[in-house]
């Protein structure tokens, strides 16, 4: 079974070549890995590779097929890119435009202020929405020059993480 996994900006092709209990053989972008992998606690994998011990922590994200994977010193965002994910991506693109034009809430919080209105022209770096969580107010800015096409929330609304707030064209 082979799949594509997006990790940061890289799209890695991964394939399980062989599996006998905990002993597994993988191929990642042409490199093979002989591993002894055990899930020691929920979400914590102990991996032995060439005699070295690694602990990886895997946290399912807010969307299906999205993960945060932590090694001892790094944190990665990983997305499983299967046929369905490709389809959803294409659909979102058609509905909301390029990902870079969407302002997403990165955390649950409350909308404090929306200093822009639909149809308004905004410059790159201009603040389009302010969300407050845990006594901190975070400003979210337009990534590029454009026109505000949609505003999905209003001031005072409670928002979830990864919710589309504003679309700029």
């Amino acid at each position: 079974m082979a799949l594509e996994v997006r990790i940061g900006k890289r799209l890695a092709k991964v394939q399980l070549l062989n599996r006998e209990g905990d002993r597994m053989k993988f191929e990642v972008d042409g490199r093979t890995y002989d591993l002894d992998m055990v899930e020691v606690e929920p979400g914590i994998w102990s991996i032995l590779y060439r005699g070295k011990s690694f602990n990886l922590e895997i946290i399912p994200g807010s969307k299906p097929k999205n993960y945060t994977v932590n090694t001892l010193f790094q944190s990665y965002e990983a997305d499983i890119v299967d046929a369905e994910a490709k389809y959803m991506e294409a659909r979102d693109k058609a509905a909301f435009g390029e990902a870079s034009n969407r302002i997403l809430s990165p955390m649950p919080g409350k909308v404090v202020r929306i200093p822009v209105a639909i149809g308004q022209e905004v410059k790159a770096g201009e603040t389009v929405i302010i969300v407050s969580a845990m006594k901190m107010e975070s400003e979210f800015k337009a990534a590029a020059d454009g026109v505000v096409r949609e505003i999905f929330v209003k001031e005072g609304d409670t928002v979830d993480g990864n919710q589309v707030l504003i679309v700029i064209e």
Partner: protein, 503 residues
Amino acid sequence: MIRKVLVANRGEIAVRVMRSCRELGIPTVAVYSEADRKAMHVRYADEAVFIGPSPSQESYLVIDKIIAAAKQTGADAIHPGYGFLSENAGFAQRCADEGIIFIGPSPYAINTMGDKITARKTMIAAGVPVVPGTESAITSDEEALAIIERIGVPVMIKASAGGGGKGMRLVKDPKDVLSSLRAARSEARAAFGDDAVYIEKYINSPHHIEYQILGDQHGNIVHLFERECSVQRRHQKVVEETPSPLLTPEVRAEMGRHAVAAAAAVNYYGAGTIEFIVDEQLNYYFLEMNTRLQVEHPITERVVGVDLVKQQINIANGGKLPFRQDDLVQRGHAIECRIYAEDPDRNFMPSPGVIRHITEPLGLGVRHDGYVYEGYEIPMYYDPMISKLVVWGSDRDDAIRRMRRALYEYKITGVKTSIKFLERIMENKAFAEGSYNTHFIEEHLEELTTSRECDRTCEDLAVITAFLDHTNRLAAASVKGPEASPKDSPWKSFGRRNSINRL
């Protein structure tokens, strides 16, 4: 004598106060908002009273509701913790008027120390060194220019009612004085409803060192030595330690005497903290007094061996301090790391959410003051601090090594935390050498926020783990088979049940 304590707070500090009460055999009352029904302090307390909606302005900050909760439960004392109503003189006065013991200082001490210009005047009168600058509020532009002429740039213009960095302006060039003065005034008026400002010399490369004070109602005041709090980010303390690696025994003793004099100047009783800023030449100046328990009080408890909450209760009961200055010594070294629910990789953005899994560090010399548990949702309404990890070691090096070990063992999933960021501080060379000041995080930000190099192996292993988790989930789903859809018609299941019964 205090028979029942209401803790007018939430989070780790509420639990910490209740722990000491439990050891003293005093029953406790928790108060909670809508968001906090499942919070640890509600579970830990003997009684709990609901006080309203989640925003703190409608619950934890409403004096009438707190007083009503105390009356309703028959609590004869209120511990305010830190933050919320802890430095509100009106609240302390109201408790007194209602015949409830406020576990803290007198309203007079809170008021005098709460206003920065009054505090400055009081300290000058008591012979405590203050940062060179004005003694009273600036009344005219000419006065401001004359003062800056005298003490020289750089200077800080500060709001008298200030706090949290609001109404503060750094002036490096004399030509910016008037515009900065106007900006500080308007900011102060907007934030505090009071545009009184004063001018202080700006101390470059400062260290933030504070002294723990305990005073009883019989006029005895002692200090419990210093805490070095220079590792800060946006005026928010991140790591604290005691003893300070900067101080010499002579300066330490002299600062202690001044700290006691500062507290004596307002007839202080209860636990309090005198904050000083210290420059590289060990010149020190009074900054302000916090008239409450500090977040970082456990490192003092660990090194001096005194339970500060128990002493607060003893003092509120009218008891005498059970020790004198000469009885107190610092043993070993303690460090505290504050664990915040925030994402250091994305500019320290707050990260509220559900704790999926938590493994707390244990073992020799580790104390962990927290309040979260598996399945608990950290609300978005309050402070992002999850817990305080405190370690003790026989010396500073031992304590740093122990902190690295404890951070390594500490695992939280579900929310992003500052644990990795703290690990990098503990690994930092300047920190290990003890040569740091309040600019530490700013100066080392790149090193502290970039992941350590790992070859492609780490990334590939992450890819493999994600792949494996995903395929395991698919396999688990297919074994279970199609689940009953909730849209199944009740008539259909009724019919099926009847068919079975007929057999």
